[in-house]
Structures are given as structure tokens and as C-alpha cells.
Symmetry: D3
Subunit: 287 residues, 6 copies
């Protein structure tokens, strides 16, 4: 951190926080910030010169397992709002980056932060926008039917349905109570990083290629942050195969778009997220 | 109620419940169910022969004023989910009707209820579907910028953007702390029902006509349930003017669609609201 | 039938009527109404409490074989209009249900009936609307190229092209003069109902699954009423396979939507089906 | 007519034929073909070198007044089909041009003629296609609410809704029994051609300009053939005003497109208008 | 050529002209016009009675190989503009036909020619418009990834994306310096015309069938004029297979549409290609 | 410039360069880079820490006046390509920022630069993408009919037509030979910056408000770089009026998106801008 304040003062907020004793917990909750942010090493260059902090997220209010279905996303979205409000009121940040692939509470966070002049960036929103800058259609890799159905709804809300080639599923749902244990992603990640064969990588590559060849995808990204670690693996595999297709990483996109909004001095339009008594009103709103 | 069980066994759930001591409370919370459901007299014929109960809604978790912005809708949506789950588990109902114009928690309620084979109906969803059966485009009458922005997002989620002529605003936001008091809708309603001139009626008619003449609306409905009482007034005024345009009432639509789903023996598709471990999975989801 | 008039007084009108001596005739033309309405047993619960009559349809004016191509649909559409007009003038009905999957004469019937305040419901229209309430996209099962091309045009007219995953064809065209005899559907139905293997069922299930897996269908229905009997068979087969996908029945949908319009007290918008000299006119019509 | 057969052998078929004693009849039914085709003088150059005949149309089957609403269009469509079939069977023509602005029976005529290798051209279809060649959006001038609603449905069927800026109405409905007499178009035409002020011209120009300035129209045409005579008047008025906007004439477009199809040796695709037992079938039809 | 001036006076302009010593040159540059226009024999009937000349095109400014990628198209587009301007100024022509499948400089040529009242026709534009007259969706056969990407952009500009089933690639890129030599199309053409097996024909038919069966194409055409010779071969193969699908030829379409515009007396709208100081201006332009 | 190389090494390339003796020249061609880049003071913070150079642009090849119509854009686009190629080959830059509002040569520049791994950013492209991140629809302020027609075509190519509320015109065309002199923008700018009333500002604000109130714009930007200086003036006027609507500056957007692409390590997809012989090819391209 520099003596003169940085151009960028960011708060990164985790999507949710599992209880410390959760059997489903596979990430570090405490310690230096660099250790609690997933995939920090690949983010480090982008964060250089940024004054950033990370909030560990709101404790899950529905149970001790990871977010996957619509109800759980609504829980996590609501739980995150007080953190956003507090961050805005603190005056310490000039942008908020919502971690978590399914961006729980994104719209509501924008509604909170906009009157403070603080832009909010999140993963689904930023990945879709970056992807459509780079190619005609994007392909999404998802990990469960329930999650992909929720995610399709995000795509609609961002008016990106015409730009989505498809959501392709690999079947690695998060473990949860009452369901037979699946193939834990953290084990896949460990294998891949150890240079071993990972079924998650294999299936993701297979689906990415199918999205390219059959569905018209020209850019690939993952929906759930639990899959973001796949990005360099899929990218290098596509490179090797000769597919010149960008594979995006949600955190990179979210941080980049936050920096861009700060640079340009903009936040979301007040007509998209109006205050309770806006200074000026339209008679007619078009959808 | 009949001795033999009715074909229809419905639970109507209010959108939210203000604390009994809220200065913003303008509806009856307790007493015979017929008195706690808004506009019961115009619903009565449709409910004849229906075994129905009404749940007063979840207590608001954000404050003591009515829902209007995105954050408040998220609060109300989440708060309503346990009621939905409990109703499903009770085995007493064969459909759930979500009252409240902005249908807080609708998608999540569908996710909960579908595995029980219980259809869920709500006001925005049913009004849009009924409206597009009757005309090419619908016009929505809304009461505040924040609410209409939230509502536009519902229209996107229901894939109805191409069918929405416009959202037209009359400016009657709900009173809320810290904002100057507006023109309370319950007073407008009282005037209208007393045969006096109501500004809300006048403005709503004016905007309905503008939606018809300028925006291409062929059917009209209101977004917020706080405006539903306007329905007969706008309808009769349009009739008098010679506009043969249906004006819908959210509760009528929601109840009708619930009855229809029960009659047809259907609920939402399991591919729209998949369970956590669905029996069968798609490799590819299109948005 | 009850002593007090029912809430619902419906006339069901067959799509067309083959001459009694037609070799292509495979349904009962006369007798108790319950025997002349196809699939009555599965409709019976919905019709309980409904005052209903059935009109056997207009005699075909193009020949003695079933409707399948565009010309034949135009013939049948026109032939049905006097029946609609007479029903409206009789004052006996408060809704008209057009039987026949390809809904010949639907728009014209709406034009006739609307000034009487009588809603008209038909199979294609109602199936599409019900399907889009339940899922993102519907898949249609059709029986001949000519019919599916006509049907695609109905989908366009109902502005449902974005919601149609695909029309999937099984090849069971109706027998007609000058063409080699095919595989008669009434024989397939007999086999299926007798618990024997029916190629029509097999192919329909195969195409339904393809529509789900490849085309994005989340709800399935049949286009031609000659295929409606497949509904319970496809539904149960999909259920067995673990696909939680609603399969609709055209008559159920049409009757349900008729009941709903009566309940809500609405008909089609006068701006969609204007009279010859409407009381009020728009300067501008948007498509 | 030339000794050697012309490259083009066309049959022009009137939209319908009023009885000779109809009080609503304002065009010549018999005599030299040049006198029975409306606006022949402006068509003459295009018809030079064409072997053409005109069929006076089928006698109206609904009454003795001009076609305007949906029912009447269905009547006229069906009545025209035998003429089309006979023309195809005669072997005398290599294209059929359907006169009549609302193109009654167009799709069905295509279905009939395609197996003969004979292209069919009609006014709405050809005007829309020509218009979108020339500009981004077209504006339509129509004469009655009922007609414009029917015409909007044609636009949908031709998948041109995104290209239609608006249908603008001037109010000159055809006279019909039981309705107060309006402002007969043939009188307006007489005035305009006599150099006198015509309200129809004035209103049409006003609406054309509104379509250009407000709705985004870049090309203008009329829906009903009863309005086609306005074409040169609107064109010259727009020219004078400085609007460089093509105004189309339905007959010119229909004849041009017929010539083009003959030149290119094409008819409509057999997948759009399949025969009853096509040689080859698709498993999947997309809408 | 006739003594009296023809109704049609056309200048056909080649897409580009390779230097006479180019090793990539495989067409005749000089001699009688009938020998320098590709596929003249199949165009001859359409050109009968037309006063036509052909311009050999502008010398390539980027190199001595054929146009294929975006840069090369921009070069060729710009180089062609002076030819267009000169043709307009000459007063000799009443329409300009741009040869070359990828229509380099089409929009700019329209901008130049419109004030002269001279319509401009070109291959991509006219093929798309003709195709959508004949069927719901068209399938394009292309020869290289770079070319198809450029061509997709043409489809967008002509607002035809919803009407394009797919671009299907056969891999016959033009030879160019620094790239290994491929399978030269002129050799394929020679084989096909000699009645020998041509891989280009085989692959094109295969892709055309895939476009029909899988992508929903109902009409087929080629993007690059280097592929136009395939038209009769693909057409006859589809005919043999029983697919009743029109296969278009770019030059036929472009000439036909030029004739049609001359017949109708229209050019592109001045609102689509406005002059530098138009007589009349809009305040609002819609995209 | 710093001792350690910056994270960002950018070449900014002007849209075109007027001859030094052009009477239409109103910007500084030589001197310190900070003086040749328009609006440098508002860009300065964003360029801090960036190693940047500016190229003065290619000399105009069509004349000595500014680019405005389609032909001129094609000239400027082609002329800029060698500069792009040279910059890529130099190895000095990791991103290229194309100045000039109408982004002449953008697609072709991407085609050139992508194989070098160098992202290209330009004004129209980046403004549209940024705008749609911030609001539902954008409104564009343009200065001439010809320019806005060209610009509409850019919007189509970027698949942003559904997101464009309207292009609103103020009438300040660039002076050009043979046309009466208009109201030079550099004089308007001088007035505005001097605190005097500028008609350009007044009209732009008026049109921005119309775009917001009537067309549904939620974000505003200018098309032509000659209008970019308006940005702070329009923004502050809207702020004063109570409209909470972001007004974008093209250069800010283009630089931000360049930085973002460098940060994320991405360029355009190789499937959007394929090389001449790509390593991997698709059989099917969707538009």
C-alpha cells in the first residue's frame, strides 16, 4: 500500500461465509487477505497499486453448505446487503467488488451504493459484458442443473440472452446434506494443480469445445466461482488444440470493470437503480 | 365450504405484514379472512367453491413501511419462503397464490413447491401471461421509479419485454420514513369509492390512455397491489371513452391461473426449477 | 347439469366434421356428448360443474379426409364461423372452446365473439400460453411436414417464435386420397391403450426427449388433435425416465383458459380484434 | 403481345369481385383488361413485353361490400383458391400475381402453385420485402382499425415485425351495410386526380410524415389496395417537402417480384410450403 | 442490343481485378464481355434485352491474390468507389450491379449513387432478400473462417441475423502467399463441369443438407462469388435427394433486384443513405 | 515515462489527419502529445502511469475536410491500417486505442492486431459496451444525418440495436466544400468553455432529455469525437436538472477498456477475427 492514496480503493466481498465448523468448508476464512481470496496469484498483477481489502462475506443463513439453488442465492444476497451498506457509509472505498460467481444481491447492492457514487462490480455481470466485447456469443460452463437455471435468470436480467450460446453442464454439484456425496471440486483442483488428470478439467474442456463447435460460443467462462480455478486449465487446453478462444476468470473481470468505472468516474445509471424519491422522474419506462 | 373436499384447496399468502403498530399500516391484519384480503368483493365469485385460507404474510424485516425498492423486495421475498415451505409440507393445499403485486420470492417459492407437485401463482407472472393472451402488448401502471425499475426486471425474467408496451408512472409512492409524505393511496381509494374525484384515478386513466394511444398497449394492468383497487375505476372510464381494452386485476389473474394449473394437473417444469439432484440432467441449457 | 345456472356455460365446437360415409372417419359423430368428445375421460373432472354442449363441427368443404394442409385449414376455418356466430347470438354460452389442434378460424371467431363479450379459447393458442407459463421454451410434436409448416405460422401469429424450441416430427400423416396409406393413428391409439407397443408412442417419446436434450424444450405438447391422445403416454414415459417435464393436452388447456377468462370477466382486447366501426380509434398501431 | 412467347406469362387475380349490382361497386368489372386493372397507366411500362391476363376475382361470399375485416379476408382467400388451382393446371402461366392489398389466400395459393413450379406474388408480401431492401423500417398507411389489425397479422407471418415502424391510420373505412357512410375513397381519388384538395391525400401525407419523424419509417406503403392510388400523390408531396423517402405501390412490387422469381427460376421453398407427402422430410422444424 | 434504348441499362462491376501476371488469376480479364462475366451462360436469359456493360473491377491494392479477409474487403471496397461514381456521372446507366459475393463497398456505393437516382444492387444483399422471400431461414455456404466472419457482419448489417440458419463452411480457402496451397476452386469447378467427382461439390452438398436438417435452412446460397458456380450442382443434387429447396445464384439475384428497382422506379431510401446536407432532417433516428 | 516499464503501453491513433493547410483544420497537429490529444485534461488521471504515445493519424485521402459520410469513413479506415500494423510489429505497445468517434477501421484493426496478442479498443465499441453495463438503453447524440446513418450501422455490427434508445440529432455538421458553412463546433466549444451560451450545448441537452424522457435512454454518449467535448457540459446540466444519468466520454471509455483488456490478458476472440489459416476451424458459424 502506498503513502499517497491509491487511485483505486476497493472492498472485495465474498459471496457468503460458511461456519468455521462446516464439513463443507474448503477455503481459508482467516489470515492475510492474499490467502483468503481464491486464485490470488493470478489476480495479483491486477491488484498491484490497488488499495484493497476483503470482507469474508456474511455467514450463511440457510445452512452450512455452499450456495447452489435459488433459495440459497436469495439468502446470500440479502445477507450481503448490510456489508455493502456499511462499506459505502465508511467512506473508505471507491468501488465494491462482489465475489461469488452467481453475484447474490448484485442489483440490490447497486441500489444501495449508487447514491454514494460508488460503483459495484460483480462476476456474472462483468463476465457477460467482457465476453460480448470479445466475441459474438459466450458459452457458460456450469456445475449443476439448479445453479444453471438460476444463472440463466441472471443472463435474462442482464439482457444477454441473445448473446449466450449455451450453458453447458459438467456434473460436479457441491456436496450438501441429504444428497450422496459427489466429486468434490477442491479435490479436482488439487489434482489439476498437481499436474494430475482431473475429471472436472476433462469434462469442462469437452463442454467448452462442444459450446464452440455446436452452439456458436466464441468466448468461454464459468458461472460458479467454485469453477473459476478451471480458467487457466481450459485456456491452455484450448490453446493447445488450436482454438483461439478467450476463457475468462470472473474475479479478473469484476476487478477490471471496477477499475474501469472508477477511471471513467461513473456508476450505474440512476434510471436503472432509482432512489426512493428521485430528483427527476420519467412518466414512461420502457423495458 | 363444502362437505366433500373442493377441487381447489388454496393458500393465499400476503406479500408482507407490517407491524401492528406501524403508522404506515392501512389494511386489516386480523379478523375473518374475507376482511383481510384486499378487494374481496370482486374476488368472491371466483373463490366460490374454493377451499381457501389466507396467510397474513411474513413480518417485514427491513422496517415498518411497505415494500417498494429492490432491497425491500428481497427482504420480503426471503421472509415469505418459510411460509411457502410449511404450506407445502402441511399437505393441506393444492395450490399457493402469492399475493403482492411485485411477487416477492416467486421463483424461490416455485423451486420449493414444485417437488410437492403444488403449483404457485403470483400477480406479476399471471398478469403478464393473461395480458398477452388478450392483446399484443400490455401497458403497466406503476407508482414509483424504484418500484418500476424492479418491476421491469420481473418483466425481463418472465421474457415479456417484447410484449410490454411501457410502464407508465403515476406518482403515488408509498409513504416511508425520511421522505416527505406523499398522496396516500388509501385516501385516494376512499375518495374513489365514495364517488369523489381521486387524483390517482385521474392520473391512472390519463396514463392508460397514453399507453394505448402512444405506446401500443392493448391491455392494461397495475404493477403494485397497492394500485389494484384502481382496476374497476380505470376499466369503467375506458369503457365510457369507447376504448375496448381489458384492465386486469392481479388477484383475479393469480387465482385464475392457480385454478387452471390445478385443473390441468400441471406445475412449473422441472427444467425451469430443478431440484438439487434431479433424476435426469441436460448437458446443455439454452437461455 | 344443475338447477341453478353454472358459472360456466360452454360450447365446444369440433374442428370439422367428416361425412358419415367417409372411409377416413374414425370418431363417433353422434350419441351422448361424452362419447363424441375425444379423450372425454381425462377431461371429465374439469368439466364437472360446467354447463357444456358440443357442436359436431362443420362438414368439410374440401373433401372427406381430415384437415392437414393450409388449404384444408382455411376451408375448415371458414366453415366453422357460422357456428360461432350462431352460438354467440343464441345467448346460451359464456365461452366458446374451439376443438381441433390447428385451431381453424380462431382469429375470425374472436372477431365475431368479442362484441358479444364472449371469450373464445382454442388449442394452439392455449397450449402455447400455458406452456410458456410453465417453462422457458416449448417443444411441439407434429405429424406431417405440411401440418407443421401451417402450425409454425400459428406460432408466429401468437408471437411465440422465441419461445418455441422446435417442432419435432413423427411421421404419421393422416390418410388421404391419392397417397399411399400410412400408419393410422387410431390404430396406434388402440394399441397404446391396450398396453401394446405403439410406434407412434415410441417415436413421440424419442422426439420429446430430443426436444428436451437438444433443443431446449422445457414443456411438451402436440400440435394436431389427432395426437392429443399421446399426452398421458408421453407424460408417463418421461416421468419414468426422470424428466420432470409437463406434457400438455390441448383440450385441457383450451377449457382451462376458457374458464379463466370467464372467471376474470375478460375477452380479447378490442384493439386486437376491432369491430368494423370501433368507438375509439388509434392513430398508430404497432406490430 | 408478341409472336414468340414472352419470357413472362402472368395471371393477375383480383382480390375479390363484388356483384355487378352492388351499391359498393366502384370499379370496372368488364371490358379490356387494361381498364379493369386499377392504376393500369402506372403499371403499363412494367407490363410491356409481358403476356398477361387478369382474372376478375371470385365473387364475394360474405356480402356485397368490400373486404375489410378478418372474416371477410378469410372468405375472399378461400374463394380465390380454385382460380389459382385452375390457372396452375392450365399450363398457361409462369407466375401468378395476386392483386388485393391484404393478399387473401396468399399462403394457400403458394401451397397450391409450388408443386407446379409456378411462383406466386402478392402485395403485402412483396411490399414488405421491397421496403426492407430500401430502408431500415417501413411505415404502413391503413384505412380502418379492423383492417390494420388483420394487416399486422400479415406482418407477423412474414416475420417483418421488427422492420415495421408503425401502421398509421387515416380513417376512410369502406362503406358497408349498417354503418353510417364514410368518406368514399373513390371520391377522394377523383378529387385528387382532378387536382382538387383531397382529405385522404392530406391525412395520408400527414401520417406518412409522422411515421418518418416519430416512428422511424424510411419507406412508406399502403396496406389496402383501395389506397394504392395515393402512391404518386404521397410521393410527390414528400418529394416537395424534401423527404427522400420511397413510397411503394403494391401492384408494382408484386409484378416486379413475380418477374424476378421467373428470371431467377425460383419459387417458394418446399420446406415453407411442403406438399402432402414430400419426397424428403425433416425431423425438426424451427420457427 | 436494340435500336431503341432498353428499359434496363446496367453496369456490372467486378469485385476486384487481379494483376494480369498474378499467379492467383484464374479468370479471363479481357475480351468480349460475355467471356469475362463468370457463369454468363446461366445469366444470359436474364440479360436478354438488357443494355449491359461490365467493368473489370479495380486493381487490387493490397496484393495480387483474391479478397478473403476483412482488410482485403476494405481495400476492394474503397477501390471500387471511383468506378461507381464515374458510372453515375456518365449518365449511361440506370442501375449498377456490384459483382463479387462479399459486396465490397456496397453501402458506400449506395451513398454515391442514390442522389443520381440510380439503384445499386449487390450479391450478399440481394441473395439475403431473395432468400427470405422464399423461405423462413437461409443457409450460407462459405469457404474460409475469415471470410465467413466478414460475411456474418454483412448479415448483421442487413438485419438478417434472425433469418440466417447458419453459415456452413467447406474448407477451400483461396490460395495466398505464405500459406500452403489448398484445393483450388477453379480445379474443382473444372472437374464438376467435366462430370467428374469434385470434393467441393461433395462437401457443399453435405453442408447444405446439414443446414437443412439441423439448422433450419429452407433456402441455400453461397457467400463468395468463387463458390457461385456450385449453384446448379448443389441444386440438382438436392433435387435428386428429394429436398425441394431453392439454391440461389448471387449474380442472378443481383441482376433481378436491379431490374426490379428500375421497374418500380425506386432506389434506396434517402434516410438510409442521406446526402451531406439533406433537404429534410429527422431529429431522431432509430436503429 | 517511468524507469520500470509500465503495465500499460498504449498507442493512441487519431482517426485521421487533415493536411496542415486545410481551412477545416481546428486542432493542433504537432507539439507535445498532451496538446494534440483532444480533451487531454480530463483524460490525464486515467493516463497516469500509462506509457502512451499518440500517432497523429493518416492523412485524409478523400479531401481536406473532416470525416462525416460513409465513403469518408472507408477512406479513413483503410488509411489507418498500416499504422496499426506497424504498431503491432514494433513490439512497443500492449494495446492500441483508436481515437475518432466513428472508429474507422476498427474491425480490420482487430483482425491485424489479434494474432500479435494486442487488444484494440475504439470509441463507438467501448462506449456502447460501457453504456450497457450502466443502464438498460443508451441514447446517442449525433451531428449530421449522414454520420448518424453510418453510426447506426456500427450499432448493428456491435449487436447493440436492442440497447439503443435512439440517435438524437443536433444539427452541427462539419463544414465541407460546396456546402454552406454551418455552425462550427470549435466555436461552440470555445463559447462553452468561456462560460458563454453555446447553442450546441443547449441543443445537446435538449436532445439528451428527450432521449431520456421519450426514448428510454438511461445513459448518454456522443457519436462523433467532434462532440466529445460536450460531455462535461451535458453531464453537469443533467445533474442540475436532477437526472442521475451518466454521460460518457468516448476517449475515457476506449482507454478504460484497453486497460481492462490488458489487465485481464485478453484480446478479441479468434473466432470473431480469424486468421487466414486458423489452427482450428468450425464447420458451422452462427450469426
Amino acid at each position: 500500500m502506498t503513502a499517497t492514496p491509491s487511485r483505486y480503493r476497493f472492498l472485495l466481498i465474498q459471496g457468503f461465509r460458511l461456519p468455521a465448523d462446516s464439513p463443507y468448508l474448503h477455503r481459508k476464512l482467516d489470515g492475510p487477505k492474499e490467502q483468503t481470496v481464491m486464485d490470488y496469484p493470478i489476480l495479483a498483477p491486477m491488484l498491484e497499486g490497488v488499495d484493497w481489502e476483503v470482507h469474508g462475506g456474511a455467514l450463511t443463513t440457510y445452512g452450512n453448505w455452499p450456495v447452489e439453488n435459488r433459495q440459497e442465492f436469495m439468502h446470500s444476497g440479502l445477507a450481503r446487503l448490510p456489508i455493502v451498506r456499511e462499506a459505502c457509509e465508511s467512506g473508505k472505498y471507491n468501488a465494491i467488488v462482489l465475489l461469488g460467481g452467481g453475484e447474490p444481491g448484485f442489483h440490490e447492492a447497486c441500489e444501495i451504493a449508487r447514491p454514494y457514487g460508488i460503483p459495484v462490480s460483480s462476476c456474472a455481470w462483468s463476465q457477460m459484458h467482457v465476453a460480448t466485447m470479445l466475441g459474438s456469443r459466450f458459452g457458460v460452463i456450469d456445475l449443476a442443473e439448479s445453479h444453471s437455471s438460476y444463472y440463466a435468470n441472471l443472463i435474462l436480467q442482464h439482457r444477454m440472452d441473445r448473446r449466450c450460446a449455451s450453458i453447458r453442464l459438467i456434473y460436479f454439484p457441491h456436496d450438501r446434506p441429504g444428497c450422496p456425496s459427489g466429486r468434490p471440486l477442491h479435490e479436482e483442483r488439487a489434482k489439476a494443480r498437481a499436474g494430475e488428470r482431473s475429471e472436472a478439467v476433462e469434462e469442462a474442456v469437452e463442454q467448452a469445445v462442444a459450446a464452440i463447435e455446436e452452439d456458436g460460443a466464441e468466448v468461454i467462462f464459468m458461472s460458479c466461482s467454485g469453477l473459476f480455478w478451471l480458467q487457466p486449465f481450459i485456456q491452455s487446453r484450448l490453446d493447445e488444440m488450436g482454438w483461439e478462444v478467450p476463457v475468462l476468470h470472473g474475479y479478473k473481470c469484476a476487478i477490471s470493470m471496477a477499475k474501469a468505472m472508477v477511471d471513467m468516474g461513473v456508476t450505474a445509471s440512476g434510471l436503472k437503480y432509482p432512489g426512493d424519491r428521485p430528483g427527476r422522474r420519467r412518466r414512461k419506462k420502457l423495458v
